[in-house]
Point group: C2
């Protein structure tokens, strides 16, 4: 049985619905998305496997999810470092960055050096709204993620991948295969090219929205904000 997925267009429409008829603020949704990511990282890479987490954040909402995840991971006892080269002037993202600075979490501009000093990487560069080509300074970052042997958890999409068609045929990302993917709200079509551990996060979808977008979401357990699924989209 193939997994039901949410196209890039429908993912954008669903997000809009969550904030209009759903009455969620972006602050709330991003808090819960980042919390999901932090719980998946705790599951695949508990603190006993190394506390250093490098969080690579892009300029948009995917980067915001990474900033929130980093804060929760700090509270769990990890030592995050943030690579956030294109910081948005948007008030919410600025506040999320300040929240990290208040925890004395360090920000770096030197991705290659940071990569040598981490135990795990969160790829929060591009999400479901990515299309076209990878812009500066991210091509070198994507190439470094392709080459590193440090495990990577991607948020919503392996950065550089086309949401519908998966990895690019050539250029940065053509050989990028993260170990872990956290699909937010629902998996996107690119999951059929993904071979690692797959989690669904974002436990805030109402029955109406589930029906409108024909989502087939696995059941979360207990108070978990993530659920691990197999290739067929069923709970593992």
């Amino acid at each position: 049985m193939a997994m039901k997925t949410l196209s890039a267009k429908n993912a954008a429409a669903l997000d809009k619905d969550l904030m209009s008829i759903g009455a969620f603020s972006l602050d709330q949704l991003m808090e819960l998305a980042g919390l999901s990511v932090s719980q998946a990282v705790y599951r695949v890479h508990p603190p006993s496997r190394g506390r250093r987490i490098l969080v690579a954040c892009g300029p948009g909402n995917n980067g915001g999810d990474g900033l929130v995840a980093a804060r929760h991971l700090w509270h769990y006892g990890y030592k995050p470092t943030i690579y956030y080269p294109k910081q948005s002037k948007n008030d919410l993202y600025q506040r999320l960055a300040t929240q990290l600075k208040n925890l004395n979490i360090s920000f770096t501009d030197d991705f290659p050096t940071a990569l040598k000093e981490t135990d795990h990487i969160i790829d929060a560069i591009f999400g479901f709204s990515f299309s076209g080509e990878v812009r500066e300074p991210f091509p070198a970052v994507i190439r470094a993620l392709e080459e590193t042997r440090i495990p990577v958890t991607s948020v919503d999409a392996p950065s550089s991948w086309n949401i519908e068609e998966g990895p690019p045929k050539e250029g940065p990302g053509a050989n990028f295969n993260p170990e872990v993917l956290v699909s937010l709200t629902a998996p996107k079509p690119l999951v059929k090219y993904f071979k690692g551990r797959h989690f669904i996060g974002g436990r805030f979808v109402s029955p109406d929205i589930k029906e409108k977008y024909d989502l087939s979401l696995p059941e979360y357990e207990g108070i978990d904000q993530v659920v691990e699924v197999g290739n067929n989209g069923q709970k593992l």
Copy 2:
């Protein structure tokens, strides 16, 4: 060893700090506070003990925490019912209520009947900013909470209790002893009059704020958003 507590005045100042120098939005803080409450309820009253949860919400932030907790509890598989007689015109609270209506969660005006049809109660009526006397329509609600044998989880303070001095000498609340208390951010002085199970929630305090307010917070475990403590404030 006595537990370190946070006076009503300092609790208000700390909240203000979280939103100014801390750069948190009220949406974020309320989301995390309500999440903490939902996790404490799951711990003391798992779904196997009965899924019906009556959430009594007051007009302010304490009520907002209750609305958020109710949403998370629905996602955990509970059946919440909301008593929210003084609904605020504040945009955030209205959105939190809409989020519940989108889950088909029912709102009731009839507290006595709702009390007969629940397995657990969340008291989110008044929090650390309460002082003076209990206003209509809440005196009858507090009396009902005093008399019921259904277990009650209070958010931040047993409603009607003075934040510094505990239960009122007479009138509604003089004999109100909830089974569970979730202190948000840090315990208030009233905890020395409280005899039930005590949790701390709100895992977002920075080292600076901890130092400024001389808080002695127990360590949370793993990804938990609550931690249970004993009479001395130490983790159980």
